[in-house]
C-alpha cells in the first residue's frame, strides 16, 4: 500500500476515534481507558509479522518478548475491563 493511502487511513481513523470517544460519560472513563489500552495491544501483530522473517537469536528473543508483552496488553486489558464493567450491572 502506498504511503498516501496509509496516511489517508490514519487521518480518517483519528477522526473516527475522536467522534466515538467524545460521547463517553465520566462514569465510564476508567473502563474506557482500560478498553482502549487493550486495543493498542494490537502491536502484537507487529511481532507476528516479523518473527517469521527474523534471523538470529537476538532478533527472535526480542520478538518473543514483544509478542509476550503484546499478549499481556491484550489479554490482561480486556479481562480487567470486563471485571470493571461487571460491577456496573444494575441492581434488580
Amino acid at each position: 500500500m502506498d504511503l498516501l493511502t496509509e496516511l489517508t487511513i490514519l487521518v480518517l481513523a483519528a477522526f473516527v476515534g475522536f467522534e466515538v470517544i467524545s460521547k463517553v460519560p465520566n462514569t465510564l472513563h476508567t473502563p474506557l481507558m482500560s478498553a482502549t489500552n487493550a486495543i493498542h495491544g494490537i502491536v502484537l501483530l507487529g511481532g507476528l509479522l516479523l518473527i517469521g522473517e527474523a534471523g538470529g537469536f537476538l532478533n527472535e528473543l526480542l520478538l518473543v518478548i514483544a509478542i509476550a508483552f503484546g499478549t499481556i496488553n491484550v489479554v490482561g486489558g480486556f479481562l480487567v475491563t470486563d471485571r470493571m464493567l461487571e460491577m456496573f450491572k444494575r441492581r434488580d
Partner: protein
C-alpha cells in the same frame, strides 16, 4: 491447495481486518452507555481475535513455535494479573498494561531496523525509517514513563514530585540527543549503536518526565501515555505496512488525547503546565497560609457524627482516594442504606479526578452496588451543597480544597472543586493531619462548620454505622 491459497489471499485478509475495525468502532460506541458497556468490551475483544487470526493467515508469517511461546508467556502473566488485581489497584494495572504495550512497540521497531541492516545491508526507505524511529522513541518513553507511574501509584516510589536540579535543561538535552541521533540515521548513517542510543535516551527521558509530576496529576499522565502508545502502534503500522495497526493504533491515539484534554480541563490546568512538573510538593507560595502555624481543628466522634447524619434530610458523600485505600466503599454503602431507611437522601459527589484515575470513584462505588442515579458529577452536585445538611468527606482532600477558589497563591488555584464547605455541616474522615497527595494544606479543615473524624476510613464508617443502628 485451493482453500489454503484463498485463505492466504491478501484481499481476504484485508476483508477480515475490515471486520475487526467494525468491531473496534462498534465496541467503543457501546462503551458509551453503562448498560451496553460490557458488551462493547467483548465486541472489541472479538475484533482483536479476528485481527490476530487474520494476521496468522498471512503467508509470510511463520515460526509458529516461537509465536506460541510468546503468546503462552503473555497469557500466563496477563491472565492471573488481571484476575487477581484488587479494584483499588486498577490504575496501576492499567499503567502496567500500557507500559508493556509501549515496550512491545519499541522492541518491534528495533528488530525491524536490525533486520533491514542485516538483510538489505542498508537503512530502510525513509517512508519506513521515519515511522520506525518515531515508534522507537515514543514506545520507549511510554514504557518507562508507565513504569514510573506504576511505581508512584503502588507507592514503591514517593508520590510527591521528585525534582533534580536543572531538570528542564536535562530533558531538553535528552531530547536533543534523541533527535540528533534520529536525524543522523535518517540522513543515511547506518548504525545499530545510534539506534540503541535513541532507545536508551528515550528511556531516560520517560523516567525524567514522569518523576517530577505529583500524584494528583497521575490520571492525566496515564491517559497521555495511553495515547502515546496508541500513536506509536500506528507508526509501527506505517513502518510494517499493516493497516490493522494503523487504524487500531490511531483510534487509541485519538481517544487517549481526548481523555487527557478532558481531565486537564477538569483540573483547570494546561498540559504543558503539568509536565513542567512540581504540582504541589514543593513549597507553597507566600500568599498561602503559613506553615507550622498551629491552627485549631475541631475533632468529633462516631456517636456525634451518627446523630448529625441520622437527623439530616440531605447528606452528600464526597469520596476520595482515602476511601479506596481503606476499601471502605461497601461500608459506606451500608451506612447510606441505613440512612435511607430513615428517610435521609444520600447522594455521592464525584469529582472527575478524585482518586487516581478518571472515574475511579465510580468504579469503586459500582462495586459496592451504589445505584447510578445517586452518583452526581461535580457540576450537577455543586449547586446542591447550600441545601445539604451534612457533607461527609471520606478520604478526599485536594478536590475539596477551597484554596482553589479563594487563594490565588495556591498551586491549585483555579481548579474546580466540590463546594463541600457550603454545606451546613462538613464532616471530614481523615487518617491524620497530613496534607493531601498534592502536599497542599487544606483550609477546609479549619472552618467553623467543619469537624474531623480521625482514623482509618473503613473503621470510622463502620463505627458511625454501628452508632446509627443503635439510635
Amino acid at each position: 491447495m485451493y482453500t489454503a491459497s484463498f485463505l492466504q489471499d491478501p484481499d481476504f485478509i484485508r476483508v477480515l481486518y475490515i471486520g475487526a475495525f467494525i468491531c473496534f468502532i462498534l465496541g467503543l460506541r457501546l462503551l458509551n452507555h453503562p448498560r451496553t458497556a460490557r458488551r462493547g468490551n467483548i465486541v472489541a475483544a472479538v475484533g482483536m481475535a479476528i485481527a490476530v487470526t487474520a494476521t496468522l493467515l498471512i503467508e509470510s508469517v511463520g515460526d509458529y513455535g516461537l509465536i506460541v511461546l510468546g503468546v503462552a508467556i503473555g497469557t500466563a502473566v496477563g491472565v492471573p494479573a488481571a484476575r487477581g488485581v484488587k479494584m483499588t489497584a486498577m490504575p496501576q494495572m492499567v499503567a502496567l498494561f500500557n507500559g508493556v504495550g509501549g515496550g512491545a512497540v519499541a522492541l518491534i521497531s528495533f528488530v525491524e531496523y536490525r533486520e533491514s541492516l542485516d538483510i538489505a545491508g542498508a537503512n530502510p526507505e525513509l517512508e519506513q525509517l521515519i515511522p520506525i524511529l518515531f515508534a522507537a522513541i515514543v514506545g520507549s518513553v511510554s514504557f518507562w514513563g508507565s513504569n514510573i507511574a506504576f511505581g508512584k501509584l503502588q507507592e514503591i516510589l514517593p508520590g510527591r514530585p521528585i525534582q533534580l536540579p536543572g531538570q528542564l535543561f536535562l530533558n531538553a538535552a535528552l531530547l536533543a540527543v534523541i533527535l540528533g541521533c534520529a536525524v543522523a540515521i535518517a540522513a543515511g548513517t547506518e548504525s545499530e549503536l545510534l539506534f540503541l542510543a535513541i532507545l536508551v535516551a528515550a528511556a531516560v527521558l520517560g523516567n525524567m518526565f514522569v518523576l517530577p509530576i505529583g500524584g494528583a496529576d497521575m490520571p492525566v499522565v496515564i491517559s497521555l501515555l495511553n495515547a502515546f502508545t496508541g500513536l506509536s502502534a500506528a507508526a509501527a503500522g506505517l513502518a510494517l505496512d499493516n493497516v490493522a495497526l494503523i487504524v487500531a493504533g490511531m483510534l487509541v491515539g485519538a481517544s487517549g488525547s481526548i481523555l487527557t484534554m478532558l481531565m486537564a480541563e477538569a483540573m483547570n490546568r494546561s498540559i504543558p503546565n503539568i509536565f513542567a512538573g512540581g504540582f504541589g510538593g514543593v513549597t507553597v507560595t507566600a500568599g498561602a497560609s503559613a506553615d507550622g502555624d498551629e491552627r485549631p481543628v475541631r475533632s468529633t466522634d462516631a456517636a456525634d457524627v451518627a446523630i448529625q447524619l441520622a437527623y439530616a434530610s440531605k447528606v452528600v458523600v464526597a469520596p476520595g482516594y482515602g476511601m479506596a485505600v481503606a476499601q471502605a466503599q461497601h461500608t459506606v454503602r451500608e451506612l447510606a442504606d441505613e440512612l435511607e431507611k430513615r428517610g435521609v437522601r444520600v447522594d455521592y459527589a464525584i469529582h472527575p479526578v478524585a482518586g487516581r484515575m478518571p472515574g475511579h470513584m465510580n468504579v469503586l462505588l459500582a462495586e459496592a452496588d451504589v445505584p447510578y442515579d445517586h452518583l452526581k458529577e461535580m457540576d450537577e452536585i455543586n449547586p446542591e451543597f447550600p441545601q445539604t445538611d451534612v457533607a461527609l468527606v471520606i478520604g478526599a482532600n485536594d478536590v475539596t480544597n477551597p484554596a482553589a477558589r479563594e487563594n490565588e497563591g495556591s498551586p491549585i488555584y483555579g481548579m474546580p472543586i466540590l463546594d463541600v464547605d457550603k454545606a451546613g455541616q462538613v464532616i471530614v474522615l481523615k487518617r491524620s493531619m497530613n496534607t493531601g497527595f498534592a502536599g497542599i494544606d487544606n483550609p477546609l479543615f479549619y472552618k467553623d462548620n467543619t469537624a474531623l473524624l480521625f482514623g482509618d476510613a473503613k473503621e470510622s464508617v463502620a463505627a458511625v454505622l454501628a452508632e446509627v443502628k443503635a439510635l
